[in-house]
Amino acid sequence: MEILLAIMTGILYAAGIYLILRRSLVKLIIGIVILGNGVNLLIFLMGGLVKGRPPLIQEDSNALVGLYADPVPQALILTAIVISFGLQSFAIVLIKRAYKVLKTDDIDTMNKTDDIT
């Protein structure tokens, strides 16, 4: 399972970076979304995978015993997902606006801010 997830993370990173390098604005955003998902998967993987052992303290004891799933990465992923959700919705509005005012979605033609004038 770890190997599968590791390969999956790699594919998501590769796909995300590939899409960011494309010339279209929409593909750029999709690339960032995919990269963000890749990171979340990486955090999940880094916490270690434990099957069927939720981090719940049994009624008759007052500490976690034995092997249990690490709850911290899940909290981290949740935070990261919420943040990236907010940023992505901003990004989508931004590219819509950019398409409207710049009348192009080709990143190569967006060089007005870099001109030496």
């Binding site: 960011i20 955090i43 880094m46 981290l76 935070t79 907010g86 950019a98 710049l102 801010t113 030496i116």
Partner: protein, 508 residues
Amino acid sequence: MSEHLTIYPIIVHLLTAILLLLSWMNPKIQRYISIIGSVLGIIIGGLLFNKVWTEGIQSVQLGNWDAPFGISMVADTLAVSLIVLTNIVALAVSIYSTKNMVSSRLKFGYYAIFHFLIMGLSGAFITGDLFSLYVWFEVIIISSFVLLTIGGRAIQIEGAVKYFTLNMLSSIIFLTAIAMVYGTTGSLNMAELSRIIPEIENKGLIQTISLIFFIGFGVKSGVFPLYFWLPASYHTPPAAVSALFAGLLTKVGIYAMIRVFTLLFPLGELNQMILMIVAGFTIFFGGIGALVQKDLQRVFSYLIICHIGFMVGGLSLFTQVAIVGAVMYMFHDIIVKATLFMISGVMYRIFGNTKLEKMGGLMDSHPRLSFLFAIPMFALVGVPPLSGFWPKVSLFTASYTQGEMFMLIMFIFASLITLVIIAKVWNNTFSKNKLPAERRKGFKYFDEFSFSEKAAYIVPILLLVGFTLYYSFFAEHFQLVAERIGEELMNTEHYYNAVFGIKEGTKL
């Protein structure tokens, strides 16, 4: 109450921002609330600084979860100094914005977002947890996106696309590094990590993680070859926003870099070399870039990059003297860069644009303003006794005594090229005879301003120039603070003891 003083710099701006949201449609009240909030920020920052200075590093465990389980907020001397400076710049920008930002922009919540940005900066400075640092970074970038795009001119949107993409990417890289740190150590508390990381056997992995952090922070601070978003976006928003960004946003990247590379991953030989080369190239390309630009704000944008090299270079030398130099340079740079962009805003109002070739004759038409503007420009070059000179003493000494001739040459090159650039700016704006330019219709020139409008533009510049002069003539105060910061950064046990509440045997 006072034991929670550490988190008040965050809370004061949060409350200000909420108040501003409540007075959404009333720009007049917003201006006053924002200025009062910033003044309170300075007072609280000063109190916290005083407390840290007299009692040592302060820490608060949020939610009363003991370190390393909860999120620690740690105010060491570096963090509080930066908070004080942040609040000073915030006050200046919030006065400047009263007239620089038109009411329609204020109605879109400019001031509220502005205070959220300052809150994010304060949070990033005092957090003692890596993931929380990431969250504060996100608070900063989402606020800065809004500030950058508010107004929605085509050029702003275009700059924002570039700014957005690269900052988003850097956050993702930063988060990747955090995931790897958590995977290898099982902790995110920076104080605890400072003990765990040296004990990890797999040095190659640690090296890799440290460089991923460097790339993440490098994009944010604008080092070579990751800086291209900066000159593409910093000249697009109104001068008030540019001043805020120029003063503070790149510096928070540098702050994170200093924190991570002193506390978590003390620089080894390889990393030192990488940082040194990057710093050298940053200085070189920033300087050359500034030289060819023909627009005042773009020249200043490239100068930001050029001078980032000083701080990264100081860090890369990794001795106490060099860190003192880097930190002192950061103090000077925050104030001066913000001032320069405010000046560019005034010049835009005087000349109707910011193109160097269309300016001129400022010395004849506005002699007193010219004198005021000359001070930060000379400070930037580092003319003794102005503020840019003092950090360079430490930086040059450190690079010379360590025999790092490459760094020394690059530092000297940076000083010289800054001189050339400022001389060029000077020739074009102050002394050159003004060409008879047609006046733009429907554009309010500086000379047509009422007294209060002029004051709103000039008072914040006076405030920051006053601070620059204070830095210049009482540099020993800053030197003392920076030396204590250097001592705290190089000896990580102070930080560790403060977080875990261990009493120190010897006081600092």
